[in-house]
């Protein structure tokens, strides 16, 4: 495009637009809302380039978080994250008083260092056995059955690292910064919009919602 009587060339027009358009969108409040770089959180599936991003603030000792992970997040990981359509990021936020939830978060942080498959297996096992370890306090049994004995020994070694506790604390601080009041809380970002949801969302609902943005 070239305007008659104007010195603006096509190249300079697009160069200007590259700066002006995002600035205009930012002013109008419709610019894509991206989480801060370097925020804690484990990407369970998808990538930063996925069209939909779901940040989950969760507590292993919370029943609704269990339902959310097993019934909603797992199918999303399988159906959408595997195709890089949805990025799922988990943040630990054990509610005050949920001491076992905090301990479970430490196991999961250690499992994270063994790789994504181990991390997912440990999360699933901890959630599946929630009622049992909440009663007995024996998290070791739930974590051990999610991996071979050699890996479990490694995980127990990793758990001695003081950085594990520090990382869990970083998750908690981040959740407080985000003013998370309860678990589960989801922050869903798609097409420059953001919606915060407190509570359990069934998979059929998420499927319809994601379908708006993903084919």
């Amino acid at each position: 495009m070239c305007f008659s009587g104007s010195r603006i060339s096509i190249r300079s027009f697009f160069k200007t637009r590259r700066i002006l358009l995002p600035a205009l969108l930012l002013i109008l409040g419709i610019a894509p809302i991206l989480p801060a770089q370097g925020s804690p959180g484990r990407i369970l599936g998808g990538s930063r380039n996925s069209p939909v991003r779901i940040d989950v603030f969760s507590d292993f000792q919370c029943a609704a978080c269990r339902e959310l992970f097993l019934n909603t997040i797992k199918p999303i990981l399988k159906e959408y994250s595997a195709r890089d359509k949805v990025c799922v990021v988990y943040h630990e936020y054990p509610v005050a008083g949920h001491t076992l939830g905090l301990a479970a978060a430490r196991y999961v942080e250690a499992a994270h260092r063994l790789g994504l498959p181990r991390l997912l297996a440990v999360m699933e096992s901890i959630f599946l056995d929630q009622a049992a370890w909440a009663r007995t306090g024996n998290l070791d049994a739930s974590v051990a059955k999610a991996m071979p004995p050699a890996d479990f020994s490694r995980l127990k070694q990793i758990m001695q690292d003081p950085r594990i506790g520090a990382e869990v604390n970083r998750h908690i601080q981040y959740a407080r910064q985000q003013k998370i009041q309860a678990t589960p809380t989801l922050i869903i970002r798609a097409a420059g919009k953001e919606e915060r949801v407190d509570g359990y969302i069934p998979y059929p609902v998420m499927k319809h919602f994601i379908g708006r943005y993903v084919k």
Binding site: D198, G199, V205
Partner: protein, 149 residues
């Protein structure tokens, strides 16, 4: 004059509440879906259609009440909806489910206070529905019971 004031007060109160209630649900469809799921009253596959279409019914009722078009029909529909809400809230509370009311905000757990509030809103809706009959009764003139037409 007092009747006129009461009539408009009921219409504006209910109309504004329905409009506001519909608006917040349209603006936050996922949060409203989570609230509907919290009631544990419908299958999971129904939740998204409810979250998509139900708020528009509230908006339509709000506009109808404020515009005054077919007012008795609209007031009747509003009364039925409020009655349905009151029963649903009461049953959910009696079942011991800790759900979010999702009525006028999403930070509003179901409690006797929310049940009382929704039940009290029935009064202006019923007033608008039965207004003609009520006026005639109080004036002392015999009047046939109100019909929907």
């Amino acid at each position: 004059m007092a009747w006129r004031f009461l009539h408009w007060a009921c219409r504006i109160l209910l109309g504004a509440l329905f409009l506001y209630s519909g608006y917040i649900k349209i603006a936050q469809p996922l949060q409203f879906s989570a609230a509907v799921a919290g009631y544990q009253a419908v299958p999971e596959t129904w939740i998204w259609p409810i979250a998509q279409y139900f708020p528009w019914l509230e908006v339509a009722l709000g506009i109808g009440l404020l515009a005054g078009w077919k007012l008795r029909h609209v007031a009747g529909a509003a009364a039925l909806l409020l009655l349905f809400f009151s029963v649903l809230l009461t049953v959910t509370w009696l079942r011991g489910i800790q759900a979010n009311c999702g009525c006028l905000s999403f930070d509003d757990p179901i409690s006797p206070a929310t049940i009382a509030r929704d039940s009290l809103l029935l009064i202006p809706a019923l007033y608008l529905l039965l207004e003609g009959w009520l006026k005639n009764s109080l004036a002392g003139s015999p009047s046939p019971p109100p019909s929907a037409a």
